[in-house]
Symmetry: C2
Subunit: 363 residues, 2 copies
DNA sequence: GGCGGACCCGGAACCGGTTCCATCGTCAAC
DNA sequence: GTTGACGATGGAACCGGTTCCGGGTCCGCC
């Protein structure tokens, strides 16, 4: 393997000049620069990133911590991150770790603590105080996408507003018996993604009841009473059920929810499109027609949403991944990036996409 | 940041001894080893992998080249690879690249050519002669999973046998009008995964026709005549249609295929479960009942297969990923791995999983 | 008692780059 | 005709480990 000293010798210059010529830092006469470049390509020289990062402290490598890769949302985001990093000349080291467990401590204390990565992008994982401190002590920028917590740069949609909008869409269609299939942990972790979407659901229901009760006098239900019981005894029948955030999860929950004819809701707000797909299949299995017997709305605009004709609230994980990388690179003081980033505080964009799975309530 | 010299000073030994004590190589008195370890943890010392790999040439890092991460099969495999690498103390650098295009050349000539990775695991990508040579020149082991080509370690199921088995399952159920929804490229690249599965389909059809024509005299169709036309004019009506290997792809193709009542097949062999899901939805959309009006069999045993009650041929991508890592580590001469690997030449295991989507032909 | 070898340890070279500092030449400004 | 700024370059230190080599001690064995 040729080293830079070989290049230097062949070009008739010193190591220092060869380094300057190849990296572009410092002054080198154009003519000698060409001679060095020529010599390098002649012997197939490729710089050793290890040697370079040993002295510069930069590795041109960022770590990505992600709880799943095998779900549409996370996979899409990972692809967006990867493309953007590659384009900027960075490597991506993947840490796919369960939300908790021994593997997590190992990744943070051993893998990420070393000097292998310049920055860390953390997806849908709440970092502990200890984990944040450990990285900050080593001056590694952290960018969080989704999830909660503070102390770091954070990119996120407004999940509470999403829940509100989805539910309002159903309410405006005249539905009064509405179920929310929330992700697991919605009640236990009110600040997590499932919790925030459920809170938005409650907001919409409460507001509708308050509006309906105007002049009649306070039929507003105590909003603490969710869980999997009914909330609100007013004109709106609302129920929240937690389920696995997947298609089988939505299917199982859907069967339970829709199987009982008497209490069957006429509309379902699913916390994710995958849950919604499961619900749709459960409804079909039970002989219910969508949207005649049941309206369904999801969140994500999954690539299969059009196939299921699913009304949903779109977000763009690949784009979010791209943004996360740009924020991270900016924190590293890297390349002049194109247009200024949106206010880092502002939530990311979402968009209501109305398809055929929601319609006016008929009952 | 503390360096090893700080540890050495604190422990009252030389850098050399400190290095030996911490890495476990060479002889160090147990007592001084403890003193060094104690000193290291006291000041929070963490070795710099850059410095180490600079001199040893090993990086404890393997590169993974994968065309998609956002599909069940690849995502699952990636998770398997990641878990195994992490367990062995290795980092995983991800290169998610389109099957062709400028990004591909960049990854191979720039990213992988540097000394950042010890080995490369390539998934479902056929390497060019030039790419293989480039890596071999730098003495980096290559492990390929799926795909075709030679010159490297390769892990793969027997896709032709899978196609054969799936089709025989349908034939034994009495179906005589069978369609194969193949992946794109099945005819153009006969040695690719879609091509091999399609070949297995043809094998089964040909064999059935030969058996049916026994004594009657050679009704065997020319097996070259596939594409999207009918193959075989004997007792078996077989057709091959290429489609995107996804649920929407299967849905579209399914609508076209099943929409025409006269030529409608009674059974479909889908090249992947995701295609099968699309076909099932298309059938339902057309009012066909499964398995009464249509039998469907897929390949993969996707995590949603049970939900769709889909008969399929199971393979285990996560397990395959684990195996790929073990082969790679073995080629690196790493840790004594548990039991010897299966013959590297032998194809990986698959298993027929019969569920409710296939049944005897009724027509 | 002498000797070979295993064990333990320190000094120093080395991996392959980057960068500080010094030197030298050139040219514009005073 | 100096002075000084600046461009171009080389020498050498340095990043943080690993490993070679050599010296010293202790033990077993002839």
């Amino acid at each position: 393997m040729p080293a830079i000293s070989d290049v230097a010798r062949l070009a008739g210059v010193s190591k220092a000049t060869a380094s300057r010529a190849l990296s572009g830092r410092g002054h080198v006469a154009e003519q000698t620069r060409l001679r060095v470049v020529q010599a390098a390509s002649e012997i197939g020289y490729i710089a050793s990133p290890d040697a370079a990062s040993l002295v510069t402290g930069r590795t041109k490598n960022v770590g990505v911590v992600i709880p799943f890769v095998n779900s549409w949302f996370f996979g899409e985001m990972l692809e967006g991150i990867e493309r953007t990093l590659l384009g900027a000349g960075y490597d991506l080291t993947l840490y796919n770790l369960p939300v908790s467990g021994p593997a997590r401590a190992r990744v943070f204390d051993f893998f990420l603590a070393r000097k292998r990565v310049d920055a860390v992008i953390v997806i849908a994982v709440d970092l502990t105080e200890h984990e944040v401190r450990g990285l900050e002590r080593r001056e590694k920028p952290i960018v969080c996408v989704g999830g909660s917590g503070d102390a770091t740069a954070r990119l996120s949609i407004d999940d509470r507003a999403v829940g509100l909008l989805a539910t309002e869409h159903l309410l405006h269609l005249g539905h009064t018996r509405i179920a929310h299939l929330a992700g697991i942990g919605a009640t236990r972790h009110p600040s997590g993604v499932p919790g925030l979407r459920a809170a938005g659901f409650r907001d919409a229901v409460d507001a509708a009841e308050a509006a309906g009760a105007t002049g009649v006098g306070g039929g507003r239900s105590p909003s603490g009473a969710i869980g999997s019981g009914a909330i609100g005894s007013g004109p709106i029948e609302a129920i929240v059920v937690e389920t696995e955030m997947s298609m089988p999860g939505g299917f199982e929950a859907g069967l339970q929810l829709l199987g009982h004819p008497a209490h069957r809701p006429t509309a379902v707000f699913a916390a994710t499109d995958e849950i919604a797909f499961g619900v749709i299949r459960a409804a079909e299995r039970l002989g219910l027609s969508i949207p005649r017997d049941l309206s369904v709305i999801g969140v994500d605009d999954h690539e299969h949403a059009a196939l299921f004709d699913l009304t949903t609230i779109a977000q763009t994980p690949a784009e979010q991944g791209r943004l996360a990388v740009e924020v991270a690179l900016r924190m590293l003081g890297d390349a002049a990036l194109p247009d200024p980033l949106p206010d880092s505080g502002a939530p990311l964009a979402t968009r209501l996409v109305v398809r055929g799975s929601t319609a006016r309530a008929t009952a």
